[in-house]
Every structure is written in C-alpha cells, then in structure tokens.
Amino acid sequence: MTGTAARPRAEHTVYRVSWTPGSDRLAGRCHCGAECTGEDPVAVWEWLLAHPDHPDGADPR
C-alpha cells in the first residue's frame, strides 16, 4: 500500500506550525509566505490568523 494521508492542497489557504526539533520553538508559516517563530501556540496562531495584517516582528511570544 502507499501512504494514505491526504495533504493540504497547494492552492488552498493553508497555515502551518512546525515544532522545531530539538527546541521548544514553533515556526509558523502563513499561506501568503509570512513566517514567525514563538514558544506559545496560542500566540503563533493569533499571529498567523491576523493575515493579511500580521503584527510587526516575527516573534509573537
């Protein structure tokens, strides 16, 4: 069998938060390409979901 997990479609509005291995850091990426890092998932989501008005600074912690 092949892997069966569906993946988000590239043309869709996709937000991604990656937990950086070996650290406590979260890296957020908006569908517009804007990126942030932080250590609080609530703050990272708020930063991403502010699209298109992402707050200044890329660290929402």
Partner: protein
C-alpha cells in the same frame, strides 16, 4: 427539536452500518432522538423517534414491513415519515408526519444530516474507504462518553497523552517527546497533525499485531474533518524501512485508526472507534487482540474524560487554560469548530463554551 450550542447543518455518524438492520435502533444525535432501521431493500432510514400523537418513542414500537406502528396507539408511519394510518378513523390529520432525516451509508458507517434537509449534500461526507475496502480488515466499537464533545476532540488531536494514559498499550515515551507539525487547510476545513518518530520502541499494540520485535519508525498522521470524522494514518515499519520512490510501501504495516465523534447531548458523546489494517488481514487472533486492546485504550480515554467532565461541570466558567506546543493541533481544531458553529443556522458557541 432545535438545540443550542451544536454545530448543525452537518453530517454526523449515527451508527456503524451493522447496527442498522431489521430492529429499530434508538440513537440521539445533537439532542435529537432518532429511530434508525433498514428497509427491505437495504436502505437505511432515520426518522424522528417520537410519535406525533403522544410522543411515544417509535423505537419502542413495532415494525411491520417497512413501516413503524406506534406501540402506544397504532399511528403508522412509512419510510418517509408520513403517517399512513391512525386508529379508529379514516381521516389522517394533515400534520401527522414525523421528520425524516437525510441518511447515507458510506464506508461502513451510517451518516445522518442534522439541520435543514435541503442543505444536505452527500458529497460533503468525508471518506474513510479503508473501513470496507478489499485488502483491509476492520475491528470496531462504540463507547458511550459522559463528557462533552470538545473534550474528545482535544484528546484525539493531541496524541502525546498516549505516553501517560495509554502506557503499555500504544503509548511509549517517544510519542510525547516527538515534535509535531500542524497544518490547517481553511478551504477544505481539515486539520493535519503529523508526528514522525524514528528508531523508537514498538508499543505492545503494534508489536503483537505485526510481529515486529525490534525498534521501529512510527508515523502518526492525523487528519481531522470537523465536526465528526477523525482519521489517524499510522505507519509502522522496522527502523530504516522507507516507502519506495514510487510511493508504494510494501514493507511497512499500515493501520487506519478512525474515530467518529458525534455529540449525543451537550455533555455526552458517541465515541465510535475503528481500526483498519492492511496486515494479517485473515488472522482472527490479531483481530481479537486489536479489538480488545483498542477498546481498552478507548475506555481509558472515556474514564479520563468522564472525570474531566465532572471537573468542568463543577467549576465556575472562565477558567484560564494553559496551552503548550503539544496543543497546537487541538487549538487549530477548536478554531475551525468555532467558525463552523458561528456559521451554522441556530448555532451558538461550542458545547464546552471555549473559544479557539
């Protein structure tokens, strides 16, 4: 009956397909009592489970061919919910009809549409084709959960709890230690959470079912289709065994862990669980072991969430939770659910009252 606080205008799993047969099955979904049965031609039917006359449950009545004869006074309903006979008179009151729910049987599950029937689009039902596909074997169950729906969503979106709540079954230290990647597809309305573990211990759940004795690479790829369907694509392989470049993966073991999370009332939930596998598909002992083990795991969750429900019910509103990295997927799911709740007709906030 309209209920507040639920996400209406959505499909929900009301039953495993095998539960719906000749007998009348009572099941409450989003506070709405429904009677389910299967007509002679095999079609599943869902009607409001209350006679229009004196509200007697139709599920406690008699079935005659494809009709239900109320066990109290004999009002008789056809498969569309229309009353076709009343006792002692020929005239059938114009309003003698019970609502019929849109019902679709798909992938061995029976889905009902809770909301405006005109909005029911079967194409919107998320798929889980492994559940009755050739080459796969599925074990399944349903456990009653005396806790609000949102608590089970939180539980399933954060599998780090396996390490602590399910040690000895599916939990190993590496689950909680391994970072996750969370993606939200806002257009498709799907939450993806991926955890890829390399060279880790094989928990008994997979060691006994696959026969792997050494360390493994373990993938947990969650795909949550709110509000109801949760898919966990699990890949287990001896460490170092990778999928082939063409995407095939013949040397790994795949398990599709599926949950259908269906609110029963504001504070109770139907916890449908299924485990489909593409290995040892003819081995009854593996089926028995996986069914027993997964039910044990589900009951561990049920006990924990029932306790949590009692805590939440007893405390004043407004408790400030603390979220950490492991909660990234759960937070994403809450946000989508809240967005859907605000859009749905007649809907209010989530049953647990929290925001995303």
């Amino acid at each position: 009956m309209m209920s507040t606080g639920f996400i209406r205008d959505q499909w929900y799993v009301a039953a495993h397909a095998h539960e719906v047969g000749e007998d009348l099955l009572a099941r409450t979904v989003l506070g709405e009592p429904i009677v389910l049965y299967r007509t002679a031609d095999g079609t599943p039917v869902g009607l409001a489970d209350r006679c229009v006359h004196r509200r007697f449950p139709l599920s406690l009545s008699q079935r005659v061919d494809d009709r239900i004869v109320c066990g109290y006074h004999g009002f008789t309903y056809d498969r569309t919910g229309a009353c076709v006979a009343v006792p002692g008179q020929r005239r059938i009151p114009r309003t003698a009809r019970v609502p019929a729910y849109p019902v679709v049987e798909r992938d061995s599950l029976v889905w009902v549409w809770i909301g405006e029937p005109d909005r029911a689009d079967p194409a919107a039902i998320p798929r889980a084709p492994w559940l009755d596909a050739p080459g796969w074997t599925t074990v399944r169950g349903l456990e009653p959960l005396a806790a609000r729906y949102g608590l089970l969503v939180d539980n399933l979106l954060d599998l780090s709890h396996e390490t602590y709540l399910h040690a000895g079954y599916i939990g190993t230290p590496e689950v909680a230690e391994t970072p996750i990647t969370t993606e939200v597809d806002d257009d498709a309305r799907v939450v993806h959470v991926r955890r890829r573990m390399k060279d880790v211990a094989c928990p008994p759940f997979y060691a006994r079912s696959t026969g792997i004795t050494g360390r493994i690479d373990r993938w947990q790829d969650i795909e949550f289709h709110p509000p109801c369907l949760y898919l966990l694509h699990a890949r287990i392989a001896p460490t170092g065994v990778e999928p082939a470049p063409d995407g095939t993966d013949p040397h790994a073991f795949h398990a599709e862990i599926v949950y259908a999370i269906t609110p029963e009332t504001q504070t109770s939930t139907h916890d449908f669980w299924l485990v489909a596998r593409d290995f040892a598909t003819d081995d009854a002992e593996v089926s028995r072991f996986l069914a027993e083990s997964n039910r044990t795991v589900v009951l561990q969750d049920v006990a924990a969430l029932n306790a949590l429900e009692r805590v939440i019910a007893a405390e004043p509103p407004g408790f400030q939770e603390l979220s950490i990295n492991i909660d990234t997927g759960g937070l994403a799911a809450r946000r989508l659910l809240n967005a859907m709740a605000s859009e749905a007709s007649g809907a209010g906030p989530l049953p647990d009252g929290r925001s995303g």
